[in-house]
Structure formats: structure tokens, C-alpha cells
Symmetry: C3
Subunit: 298 residues, 3 copies
């Protein structure tokens, strides 16, 4: 979700790329299919998420065709996990009851083989946050979404390559670059067998085998709270109808496209958010799939 495109270090990216026309086409088709299926099926993706951006998460999920349900209590989370096509778990604003809810529901989701999306917001702040995130390792989220510093810190917490216990998380902000989080993202994806999406100027989405760098977005996305959280919620909607990598890339591409479209119309961060939701509401699967991305083997 960067400033404009293209801004990726092209030479390096091309040097490592194993992109073939067939591979790219396959990915584009999967992304388009995810976007279309969400509107056709209307999957319910429940959330355990923070109070700051919970409304934005729900409205973004509805805008792309899904259905939203937010809960706090352990047995309600279990019910929503079983009823939904996927679940979104964001640890942004922990409440005491999360100590019961989060371990129980992530265990259940793993046992059911049901996809879930993890947003390790502000990892490193407080004991419960660390305990909950550490405990998630065996329950393998299908998608992990975070900024660069959060991804590096999570890999560090889980003892994976590319991680660091002391990354540049500042409250809810990142101080590390997306490129710096690449190894951590790849290691996390290989551990979970799912996908990892790193949000930044140019977003990186990887399944541990290939990495897509998705272009677009707007710097205004950093001036509206919840662009990252709601991307995670939308990724959960897509994960209910698509494989993790396609779902993560579809959500990331949708955000980059909607962000670029909204920035053209916005007079400030207030109208940006409105135009952004409008843009999400109107996106087609094909438009999402056509949003520019680079591909490389990792």
C-alpha cells in the first residue's frame, strides 16, 4: 500500500524472478476467482478484532461481498469459527477475556482445518499479547498479515529465520521496510504452509515459494486507521473461498487498487475512507487480478 507504482527495486526483482507467463496467468485467474466467488457466495468470516477499527473491518468485508460477525467470548468465538468460512483474529486491543478466547478458537480452527487470518498488531506490547501470539504457532494461520516490523517480530517470537525479537514495532506502526521483512515472511509461510502478506510502500505476498510484490495504494492509507486491519478482514472473506496465497494477494491487490482510486477523488483522509469503501464495493475480480504485481521465486 505504497505511494505509487512502480517503486520496487526492479533490477533485483527481475534478477531473481522465475516468472513465467503460465505461472502469472494461473495466479491472476485465482485472484479473479477469489474476488468473484466472494460476491457470489457471500461467505461469513467472523472476527475477533480490535475496537478501534472493528466497524471498518465489517464494512470492508461487506463491501467485497462477505458477511461479518464480531465476538469476544470463548464459546461465541467457537460458534462463529464453526459457522464461518474463515475467521479473522486481530490482537490490536486485547481485553482480559482474550486470554480464554484466543487460545481456544485458534486450536478449534486448526482442528477443523478451517482457514484463519492472523494480524499480529503491535506485537511486543504487553505480556498477554506475547503469550497469545506465541501460543498460536502450532495452530498455523492460513494467512498472516502485518507491517514489516510485525512480521519480523512474529518470526522472531516463533524462532524462525529472518525474525528478530526486537524489531522496529512502534505502537501500531512499522519502522522496518517491507524488503527487510522478506526472509521473515518466507519463513512464516513455510512454517504455516499458508501465505504471508507484508503491508508497506510496496506490499509483499508470499507462500514461501514465490513472492508477489503488489503495487498501488496511496500514502493516505497511513492516515486512516484500519487500512491494515480491514485488509486482514477482507483476506479472511477471500480465504473462505480461495487458497491462502490467492486470497492474500486478492485482498492486497484490492486494497492497492481501491486506494489508488480513492486517492484520486479524496480531499483529505475523511473523504479518502469513504471513496475507498466505495471503490471496494465496486471492484470486480478481474480488476483486482489486473492490479500490477511482480513475481519472483524465493
Amino acid at each position: 500500500m505504497g505511494f505509487c507504482f512502480p517503486d520496487a527495486p526492479k533490477g533485483e526483482s527481475m534478477g531473481k524472478t522465475a516468472e513465467t507467463v503460465a505461472e502469472r496467468q494461473k495466479i491472476e485467474q485465482a485472484v479473479a476467482a477469489a474476488g468473484e466467488a466472494a460476491r457470489r457466495v457471500g461467505p461469513m468470516a467472523g472476527s475477533i478484532t480490535n475496537t478501534v477499527t472493528v466497524n471498518f473491518v465489517a464494512n470492508a468485508q461487506l463491501a467485497v461481498g462477505g458477511s461479518a460477525a464480531m465476538v469476544y467470548l470463548p464459546d461465541e468465538a467457537e460458534a462463529i469459527a464453526r459457522a464461518g468460512g474463515a475467521t479473522y483474529i486481530n490482537v490490536g486491543t486485547l481485553l482480559p477475556v482474550y486470554a480464554q478466547t484466543v487460545p481456544a478458537v485458534t486450536k478449534t480452527l486448526n482442528a477443523l482445518g478451517r482457514p484463519w487470518v492472523l494480524d499480529p498488531v503491535a506485537i511486543g506490547i504487553g505480556a498477554l499479547r506475547t503469550e497469545l501470539l506465541a501460543g498460536m504457532k502450532p495452530y498455523k494461520p492460513a494467512i498472516i498479515r502485518g507491517n514489516a516490523s510485525e512480521i519480523i517480530a512474529l518470526a522472531g517470537l516463533w524462532g524462525l529465520d529472518g525474525g528478530a525479537a526486537d524489531s522496529g514495532v512502534r505502537g501500531v506502526d512499522a519502522t522496518d521496510s517491507v524488503q527487510a521483512a522478506k526472509d521473515a515472511a518466507v519463513a512464516l509461510a513455510r512454517h504455516t504452509g499458508g501465505a504471508v502478506a507484508v503491508s508497506g510502500k510496496t506490499d509483499l505476498v508470499t507462500d514461501g515459494r514465490v513472492a508477489a510484490r503488489s503495487h498501488g495504494g496511496s500514502p493516505m492509507m497511513a492516515r486512516v486507521t484500519g487500512c491494515g486491519c480491514s485488509l486482514g478482514g477482507v483476506a479472511a472473506v477471500y480465504a473462505a473461498v480461495a487458497e491462502p496465497f490467492a486470497a492474500a494477494l486478492a485482498a492486497t491487490a484490492a486494497y492497492n487498487l481501491a486506494g489508488r482510486q480513492a486517492a484520486e477523488k479524496a480531499a483529505g483522509s475523511g473523504s479518502f475512507q469513504m471513496h475507498f469503501i466505495d471503490a471496494l464495493y465496486r471492484l470486480t475480480g478481474n480488476a483486482i487480478a489486473a492490479n500490477p504485481f511482480d513475481l519472483e521465486e524465493v
Copy 2:
């Protein structure tokens, strides 16, 4: 809150109707009076409501002329219940403290004879939700607002006609039609002595004696989270200055009218919500009363 109007099965509706010019005029006057009184009096309607749509509830209550106050703790709920003209209780996102707060405040409201509005969101999910909703039966909300599946499930939980323990609640969504919930709505209204509003394509509002089918709205209302919750909050504002049936119909009509107006201007669900609040802000009591509705005896 349906797709357009009129979409009610006219023949059936006319066949059962005992509508007279005088009855309709009386209802229209009461609806107009509710809308005007809310702006003139500025009644405070406190809420115990969910974290997802709490901001929308408050802004909708302010837009129609009321005042909002949201609380979680038992003694604060008591204070707000005593200070307010009516109280809105929505069980959308339960927290542990609701186990103390909700029974205490509903008992107090009943003892005070103060009107309160119940929104049995996602009834059936989790043990506490069931326990709280079951326990409300003797405390008789002046208005119950829900989608068709929630209304059927609540009547079932309270052992009333038309109810079913296993209705089509899917998270926060309904899978039953408004028509299918008619008997349950009537039974609930007869039990409480108040009114029941069932939201759907065409909304049904009943006091157990007559049923009004209110037309208008927009399918976009299902793409914005909180159109139902905030309708309940607005119904509480109106219930502070009007009888339950007039208050429930005024809120429902206001939503159908504002929804239709907003849909004409919206470029997506983001701008829809903004235009919707703007429309609520500008509605007059007479405009609300003029929103089309059918009337029948039940």
C-alpha cells in the same frame, strides 16, 4: 428495508386489511409527532450495545434529534436508565460484564416502567446470549427489533407462538423472510404489550393488533454494518417521546425513507452511509409519516 416499493403481496394484504381512513390518519399523526418531538425535546436514550456499530448508533440517534450515552458497567447502566427517556439494549458483542449489567438494568427499566428497546442480535450464539435473552422475558421491552430469524428465535426462546428454537440465524444475518416471522412478531408484541419491528425487504411493525408493512430502503443497507442496530437506537429515541408502536414505525419509516434517498446519491456502500446519516439529519416528522406503509389487522 427492502429493494424498492411496493413489493408487498398486495392482494393478501388488502384481503386481510381492516384499514380505515381514521386508523391510518391516527397512526400517521403519531409517527409525525414522534419525529417532531425527538427534535424538539432532544431525549437522551442510553445504550448497552455492541462495539461494531456503536458509533453509527450514536450518530443516528443524534441525527434524529436525540442524545446518546453508551455504558457497560451495571451501576452506570442503572444511572443511564434512570436518567434517560428510554434505553437501547443490543446483545451483539457480549463482554463478561454483561452478565451483571443486562439482568440488572432490564429489571430496573421494567420496575420504573421506562421504555426500552431490545435488539436480540445473533440470538442462539453462545450460552450467555441465550441466558440473557431468556431472562428478559418478564421485563418486557417496549420495542423488539430484529431480522426475521432473530424474531422467530426469540419467540421460540420465550415459548411463544410462531417461535422456533432453531430459526435461520446465520451469525448476524437472517435466512427467514419477514412474512415467516409475522406470527412470532405478533406473539411477542402481545406478550410485551409493546411493539415488534421485523427488518427485511419489506419491514413489518406490529403491536399485536395491527401490522404495518413499511416500504422503501435499499439493498445497500445490507452492505453497511449497523443499519439494523442504529434503527434500534433511533427507535429508543422515539420511544422516549411516543408510544411503542408509533416509535417503532417512525424509526422504520425514517430508515426506509433515508435509505431510499441515500441510495439515489451513493456511489457505493461508503458514500451510502454518509448520505444516509445526512438524510436522517434532514427528515421531518411529516416526511417520515408520509413514507408508504400498508396496514392490516392481525
Copy 3:
């Protein structure tokens, strides 16, 4: 945040004023510097705040150039307090965990000498609210922001001049005038050594030595929930880069200016909020400093 400007009782204001060109220039420069520094530095101002307006608080903080982080748990609040340039504490919607979080974090902030902003929303409702607010007295917030009734009640709770145990708080609304809260505001500022901002038709900001009356705003600000809360959050962003009086006046002036600009474009309270955030996003330090205010010794 009043109806228009100027609406202050000019004669009285001029009669008491000791305003000199130099004093006014110094204040204007400090206000402009606060506005500019927030955009240049991007200070993080964490919040413990209510669930109703938490999103608005965060977006307003981001719009003026700051960074936001909201937490509930005691150790997380400590971490955010240490990491941030200032902290915003709003007791609007108390949860049980606040009984631990608020005393601990206010004590820490005081020990660190770190500025914090207090918003004593709905003071007088419930035992915990009273206990928490009473306990804050020794920890001296750099800025206190409230409506007239809240300021009078807080001075009363802290046993200061101008206070009254039984002020006109009605839920979250004021029934007292800003002028009536002047003595309480001055007494609070003298106790804390910081600043107090009283929101109303014409806002009053004092450091206990001088009082500025800031003009502008719009009556529509009372029809959008969170204009007061988010003003407090913005004051915390400014308090991270400026002295309390300049920060409080900068936030108040920014709100009066943005409110006036938004009112010119708004078609209702929905679009008002969007235009308001857009206006905040575009404000320069100089524009904030140029917003009209009267100055007097107190």
C-alpha cells in the same frame, strides 16, 4: 465550538483583558509551531478511551499528523505511555479492567513527567468513574478537556474553587455554560500547572494565568458523536510537541476552524464528519494560529 463568531460578550472580555500585542504574538507562534511540529515529528499519542468514538479519535490524531495506539490492559497502557510522546485518557465507557489500568498508567505518566490529557466524560455516573477521576488528582494531567458541566464537576470532585459536586452533567451532555465553568477551569489549571479547555459555544482555554476564548465551530459538532473526545486526542498529539496551553489552544482552534469549514460544505451530520476530517487533514499551523481568539488575564 460554537455557532459562529464572534459571540463572546465583547465588553466584558475587553474590560478584563491584559492582552498585549507581544503576548498574543507569542501565543500565536506557539500554536502555529504545535501544528507544524505534529506534522513534522509525527508523535505517537496512545489512548485509553471509549469504544463509541475511538475510531474518530484515531483518525483525527492521524489527520493532524500524529500516530495513534489504543489499549485497555494495564501493562499495555504502561508500554504505550512510555513509548508515546503523550497519552490521552477518556473515561467515557469504562470496562472493569480500567480499575487496574487507569490508576497505574496515570501514576506512571506523572512519575515520568510525561504529558497526558484527561477527558472526564460523564463524570458523576457510576462508582468506578468517580473513584478513578478522584484518584487522578495527584497525577496532574497536562491538559483537561471537557464540557462546562464536566469541568465544574471535576473541580468539585477535587475540592477546588468553582467546582460543584452536583453540576449539570446529563449523560455526556452539558447543561452549564462555558462562562459558568471559568472559575473551575482556572482552579483546575492552577492545581495541575497545565491547561484546561472547556468546550461550548465559545471555547475557553486557560493555563490559570490567561484565558483564551476561541471562536468558530458549528452547532453541527453537537450532532456528531466524538467531536469532544477527538479534540482531546488531538490535544494529546500536540501536547507531545508543545507546552500544554499552546497544545490545548491549538487543538481547540483547529476544531473551531475545521468545524466552520466543514459546516460550509455539509448537507447533514454525516457529510459534516467527513468534511471535518478532511479539513483537519489540510490545516496548517499558521491557519490554526489565525483562528480568532480573545485573550484575558484571569
